[in-house]
Amino acid sequence: MHRFFEAFFSPHAFRQVFPDVWNGFQTNIRMMVVAELLVLALALGIAVVRGLPGRGAWPLRALAVIYTDTFRGTPLILVALMIALGLPGLNIHGISDRSNFVYGVAALTLVYTAYVTEVYRAGIESVHGSQRMAARSLGLSYAQALRYVVLPQAVRRVIPPLLNDFVGLQKDTAIISVAGVTEATIQATNFSSSYFNFTGFVVAGVLFIFLTIPLARFTDHLIRERELRERALAG
């Protein structure tokens, strides 16, 4: 029992490893913020493309479908490895000379945009057709009806599932350690292989939990609020 505590919860090791893990964790936070902003914007664009009407738009729609199917189905760790190990070898100016941080953010963005596109799409489809019809009947163009009437309602409805996906994204920044980004997991791994002590992993784990709990509670709060509102309307 003592050995177990010594290996995972050693106060001495904690003091030694905490600064490095904390440093690394700030990289996790940076990756998370940049990736989330990119995902929010890109996924919305792709969801809109998937919903474009008319026969002329089918190649764009097809591309959007292929993209989401591909990256929703590929494990993040594979995407991260392919990008971080594969791209530098190609010697393409502007692509092959990026930092591992950029590659890591790219991998997170590619995979999570595919998920979030589906979330947005569900939201857009949940807005009743009569809303679009009412907007168009007032003379608003397709784009204006989307921008002012459909999307505001759609986005509002999908905020809880969207935040839920972001909880996943925050945790998955740890996977980007395989791309050689010096983040919390790498720091903990380095410490454990030098000292045969795993307190660093526990520290990293606790930091991740502290990061995701507020978001998870906020999501719960939004869901509860919506339930109350809908019940008030039904009653």
């Binding site: 009569s130 809303q131 009412a134 168009r136 007032l138 003379g139 608003l140 204006q144 309602q153």
Partner: protein, 253 residues
């Protein structure tokens, strides 16, 4: 081509199908400016589809619709420009639930007509005052009764200064005690503005009162049309008589 100028709204041989189902069968209808035409008939007779064809929410399969000298069915019409001139009010109000009443009324004037925020708001408040809902300007539609929501929907359509209003069974979703407030508003539109209107309705006494002409639709055909007194007091067609006697039996007249 006849030499006479076409009417303000003119439908010629308009046919509309949904799959194998022919909803409108070669319908002819002419509406003059300032005229109020009521469409009556059972549910599924094609009243709503006819209205939706006029502002191109539904595409016509055959025939021609001319509005204000413009052939709507030639495929080159700018639908957005056309819809600025034609207001439509729906059975289910279709207000935008994420916007306040004022935002509902000002959206199209601002984004479509390019009016400034202040101009659009001033005009919207004036309209809301007319419909007696000025104090609800900052409320969300969910907080309003059905009758109030429908009045806001009418104000939203009027804010575009349409030349033609299409009313699609606008009282069908309302509790009976709320019907009159909406119908009073429509009545004032005909009396004060001389608004040209095509009204699909189940309210026979209202149709009798406001319509210049009543058209009875049956299975996608205008079976009979004429002044309200003739249609309601002395209908010629057997189907019209049947329909009206059913309506009277149901206590809707």
């Amino acid at each position: 081509m006849s030499a006479t100028a076409p009417s303000f709204v003119q439908l010629e041989g308009v046919t509309k199908r949904f799959g194998d189902n022919v909803v409108l069968k070669s319908v002819d209808l002419a509406v003059e400016e300032h005229e109020v035409v009521c469409l009556i008939g059972a549910s599924g007779s094609g009243k709503s589809t006819l209205l939706r064809c006029v502002n191109l929410l539904e595409r016509v399969d055959e025939g021609r619709i001319v509005f204000d000298g413009l052939d709507l069915t030639n495929g080159k019409v700018d639908v957005n420009a056309l819809r600025r001139k034609i207001g439509i009010v729906f059975q289910a109000y279709n207000l935008f639930p994420h916007m306040t009443v004022l935002q509902n009324v000002t959206l199209a004037p601002r984004k479509v007509l390019g009016h400034s925020r202040n101009k659009a708001r001033g005009r919207a408040r004036e309209l809301l005052r007319r419909i007696g809902l000025e104090e609800k300007a900052e409320e969300f539609p969910d907080r309003l009764s059905g009758g109030q929501q429908q009045r806001v929907a009418i104000a939203r359509a009027l804010a575009m200064d349409p030349k033609l209003m299409l009313l699609d069974e606008i009282t069908s979703a309302l509790d009976p005690q709320l019907v009159s407030e909406v119908l009073n508003l429509v009545r004032s539109l005909t009396e004060d503005f001389g608004m040209t209107m095509i009204i699909a309705t189940h309210e026979m006494s209202f149709a009798r009162e406001v319509a210049d002409r009543v058209c009875f639709l049956d299975a996608g055909v205008i079976l009979e049309e004429g002044p309200p007194d003739q249609i309601f007091a002395a209908p010629k067609q057997e189907r019209t008589q049947e329909f009206l006697s059913r309506v009277i039996a149901a206590g809707r007249m």
